[in-house]
Every structure is written in structure tokens, then in C-alpha cells.
């Protein structure tokens, strides 16, 4: 059954989109990630214009994050104060990201830039995660506990603030910077940025692991919501029909994913996620490196009305 998307102005198979949403939902349920980094490239592959895919992806992440953060709020594993600081940085970052996105769109380089961002970040994060989880798996077999990261230069910066839930007394500069950076990525790549935010919180800010996911989800809601609004207002590229289809698939898929996730060990899960991230990265990198079958591309020139 085909559904005509009013904003993307393309007709897509409804079951294909539901399936995509479902698949990403399963993964996000399994690994506790938003799945935006998979969803947006997959939307490119099925022919959704990149601008629409990025903006609609952000909207879809709002929904899955709301769903996730409610569970964490009940368990009191959300550091609201830290989340607020990250959000402040994130909104500024998102605004910068939108400006960069629109500028590159006018140059015709937005697709390249988005793809490059994906290759670089997925490569780094996937690679690090893979090495780290293989090491952890080895250590757990030998029985030596994993060492907690030492606190470094981050704690010598001014403007210190107390974050009670996280048990931290650190400068607000690093969280603001992390928020800003992830906000930019959200706007440019259409991702929640959890895959960067979570490692940054653990290794850079030294937050306890139990509050990391909830806090990350909490800040992602605000930043993706702001991104959705900015894309809706400046580019008019948010497709509600597409978002709803993805939502339905995603919500159902996430429940199955959570079940599968409980059957596997944490280290095994992380290795699988790392491999998946690297796989997407490799596919995108190949697209850049190999000669495309069609060298030309067409884009409409929007005349200001």
C-alpha cells in the first residue's frame, strides 16, 4: 500500500516505512540508543529527500525519547540539573547547526557534508566502542574489574556547579560544550546524538553510568524538539505523515528489542552495536569512495515567494 507524503512529495510503501521504523525500534530497544543514526541513512536509501529525512528523523526521536525518559524518571535516574545545562548548550548548538545546514544546502554540498559527518562519527564511536567492549569482555573473563576513568583537566575549569543526582561538583563549561556540539550534530545529521552524548558523559564529565542514559534522553527531547521547530519554520521539511508511520513501527519494535536485549550480556550487546555502527559507516564510506553510477543530481531551486 502506497502512502503519499505531503511534504516530501513522494509516495512510499507504508509497510516499508513501518518496517524501517520497527527495525530501528528493535535496535533502540536492544541497545538503548535512539536509532536516529540508522534511521536517517535508511530514509535516504528509500528515496526520501535528505532535508526531509533529517528534519523528520528529529521529530521521530522526540517521541521515542519521551517514551524512554518516562521510565527513567520513575526510577529517578535523570539528572535534571545536568540535563538543563546540556540543553542550554544544545539549543544554541542546534541553531548553529541549522545555519550550517542551510548554508551548505545553498552550496549543494549538504548531502556530502551529512554523509561525511556520519562516516567520521560512526567510524570513531563504532571503533572505540568495539575496542572497549572487546577489552571489557576479556577482562570480565579474567575476572579483573574495569578501572574507573581518572578525573583530569575537566575539573580544573572555573564556574563550578554542584550536580547532586550525579554526585558531581564540576565546571559548567564542559557540559555546555558537550551540549553545544551534540546540538549541532542533531540539526545537521538528524540524530539524537545519544551515541556521542553517552560516552562524553561517562568519560569526559565522569557521570555515574546509571544516570547517563536517562539524562541523555532528557536532553535529547529538548534539543530534537527545538530542531524540529527550526526545520519546520526555516525549511518546512518536517513530514508529519512520515513521522507517524515511523513512530508506530518504532514503538512496537522497541518493545520486542527490549525483550531480546534482556537475553544478551551487556558486553555482547555493545560488541553487536559497535559492529552495526561500523557496518553503516562502511556502507556510507563506500558510497563516497566508489564511483557513483549516476554522476549527476537534480535539485529544485526554490524561488522565494
Amino acid at each position: 500500500m502506497n502512502i503519499y507524503l505531503p511534504i516530501a512529495e513522494v509516495a512510499v510503501n507504508a509497510f516499508l516505512v513501518l518496517g524501517l521504523g520497527g527495525m530501528v525500534g528493535v535496535l533502540s530497544g536492544m541497545f538503548g540508543v535512539g536509532g536516529g543514526f540508522l534511521l536517517t541513512p535508511l530514509l535516504f536509501f528509500i528515496g526520501i529527500p535528505p532535508a526531509v529525512a533529517v528534519a523528520t528523523g528529529a521529530n521521530q526521536i522526540v517521541a521515542s525519547s519521551v517514551s524512554g525518559v518516562l521510565a527513567h524518571l520513575r526510577r529517578r535516574t535523570v539528572d535534571l540539573k545536568m540535563g538543563g545545562v546540556l540543553q542550554a548548550g544544545g539549543i544554541v548548538g542546534a541553531a548553529l547547526g541549522i545555519a550550517v545546514f542551510n548554508y551548505l544546502k545553498s552550496l549543494g554540498q549538504v548531502d556530502l557534508f551529512v554523509t561525511l559527518c556520519y562516516v567520521v562519527f560512526l567510524g570513531i564511536v563504532g571503533g572505540l566502542m568495539f575496542i572497549e567492549s572487546v577489552n571489557a569482555l576479556r577482562k570480565s573473563r579474567r575476572g579483573t574489574p574495569a578501572k574507573r576513568k581518572q578525573r583530569g583537566w575537566v575539573h580544573s575549569l572555573p564556574f563550578k556547579m554542584r550536580f547532586r543526582t550525579s554526585g558531581l561538583y564540576i565546571s559548567v563549561i564542559p557540559p555546555l560544550a558537550v551540549g553545544l556540539f551534540v546540538g549541532m550534530l542533531t540539526a545537521i545529521m538528524g540524530v539524537g546524538g545519544g551515541f556521542i552524548m553517552v560516552p562524553a558523559m561517562i568519560y569526559l564529565l565522569g557521570m555515574p553510568t546509571k544516570v547517563v542514559v536517562g539524562t541523555s534522553l532528557f536532553q535529547i527531547i529538548t534539543v530534537t524538539a527545538a530542531t524540529t521547530m527550526m526545520h519546520a519554520i526555516t525549511n518546512q521539511t518536517v513530514d508529519i505523515v512520515l513521522a507517524v508511520l515511523l513512530l508506530i513501527g518504532g514503538v512496537v519494535g522497541a518493545q520486542f528489542g527490549t525483550r531480546i536485549g534482556t537475553l544478551l550480556k551487556a558486553e555482547q550487546l555493545r560488541i553487536l552495536l559497535a559492529l552495526l555502527v561500523l557496518l553503516v559507516c562502511a556502507k556510507l564510506a563506500l558510497d563516497l569512495l566508489l564511483e557513483p553510477s549516476e554522476l549527476y543530481s537534480i535539485s529544485p531551486i526554490r524561488v522565494a515567494q
Binding site: Y4, P6, I7, A11, G108, L116, V241, A243, E294, V303
Partner: protein, 270 residues
Amino acid sequence: MGSIRRSPWPPRLAVPGLAVLFMSLWSALFAASTAMAEEVVLGLSHDRVAITATFDGSEILIFGAVKRETPISDRAPLEVIVTISGPKEPVMVRRKERSMGIWVNTDSVAVDSAPSFYAVATSAPFSEVLSDTEDLRHKVSIRRAIRSVGSTIEGAQAFKEALMRIREENGFYSLQENVVSLDEQTLFRTALQMPADLIEGQYETRIFLTRDGSVVSQYETVIEVNKVGVERFLFNLSREQPPLYGILALFIAVLSGWGAAAIFQLLRNG
């Protein structure tokens, strides 16, 4: 009380003086009058295409008859060309080149006006039904329907070729020869397929009657393509009230996220 009944009164036949005038015009404008000797009377299966949520393309049946006041000319066989053109818009065509190991967009050419959709159907091979000069005048072929006067860059032709090639591959441009059936040089019909990925607008539909490669008569009409229902509402809202549209998108997202969490919480507890 008597009422006056008005009989239908075709004025052209009613006034003898005018008829004389017509006769003199007939001889004076001989060339023009031969062009009018054969006219198109057209029918469309529908002159509106509604893009609904489940829109999956549309087939438009175009049929008609040739009305003539003189016997069928035996000068050359009559041929029919039907074209449908979507809204014209400027487009940017970009070319990728390898730079530092990766493929990036480098050169670009702006095409002034290219129809979003263009279909040509003919009753015989294109080169036989229309001469090149007539094609140039009426802009019938796909190549001529795309206007790119401003492109002075060397090799701009390659970009135009690419535009045509990509849109032909995606089914937006098509030349279909021998698909207009023509009976007794009078009745013609054809069916043109419009894809699911249509954009809104007025689709200009033209019918040309040709003899010996030159146009003897031309008829134009418009097929309206519009989004309807939810599609219409959402599209308009996104363009006219972007902040409201954004809030609606977020509202739906937050509501479904909260709803999903609540439902699964119930399922787990219950």
C-alpha cells in the same frame, strides 16, 4: 396571457450579411483557414487529479475527434501528438567529480525552466509526425520543453542530457511513440500514466494535429493536480503556519511517546 417563446437562434447562420463577410474572410485568410479546417474536439477521462493519502498514480484517458468542414485531405495522413506538462520550475543540475579520493559535487548548471513531469504520446514515430522546425516553434519534444537559455558554460548540454536521462529513468519524462490510436483520421484516443510522485499544479495538456510534419491544428487544456484532504491540510499548514505545524508535529510525537510508555506500563503490570 401569451408568452413569447424564443427559438434557438444560431447567429452565424441567421445574418446573411455576416455569412457574406465570412466568405470574403475565408478567401482572404486562406492560409489561416486551412489551419482551422481541422479542429480538435477533446474529452478527458478526468480533468482533475486528486492527490489523496493513498494516491498511487493516475491514468488519464485522452480521447477526441477531429472536426472538419471539408472532406479529409489526401495530402498526407493526419497524425496526433498529445503532451502533458507538469508545472515548470528552475532546477540545479550538479555533477560529481573525484576530489581527494571522494566523490563530491563540483560543477553545476542552472536550468531555467524544466517541467516536473512531461509526457509525449504520438500516433507514429516522432520524427515522422513533427518536423524539427515545428518542434522548435511549439516546443513539443522533451528536449525542447526544457528551457536553458542562460547556460553558457561549456558542456552545459551534458547537464541537460543528464536531467532528461534521470527524469526519464524515474518515469517523470517519457516519449511514447505509436500509442495514440487514430481511426479513420477522425477519432483518436490514448492513455497516459501519471506517476505517484506528482507535485501539485496545473498540468498543461496540448493536442497537436499534424500533416506532413507540420502542425495543422492545436488545442490546449489544463488538468488540475491538487492535494486533497489531510494532504492538503498538512501541506498548507506547513507553508502558511510553520510554527503551528511544528508544534503539531511535536504534540503528536510527545503524545505518542507518552501513550506508548503508558500502554506498555499497563501491559507489564496487568
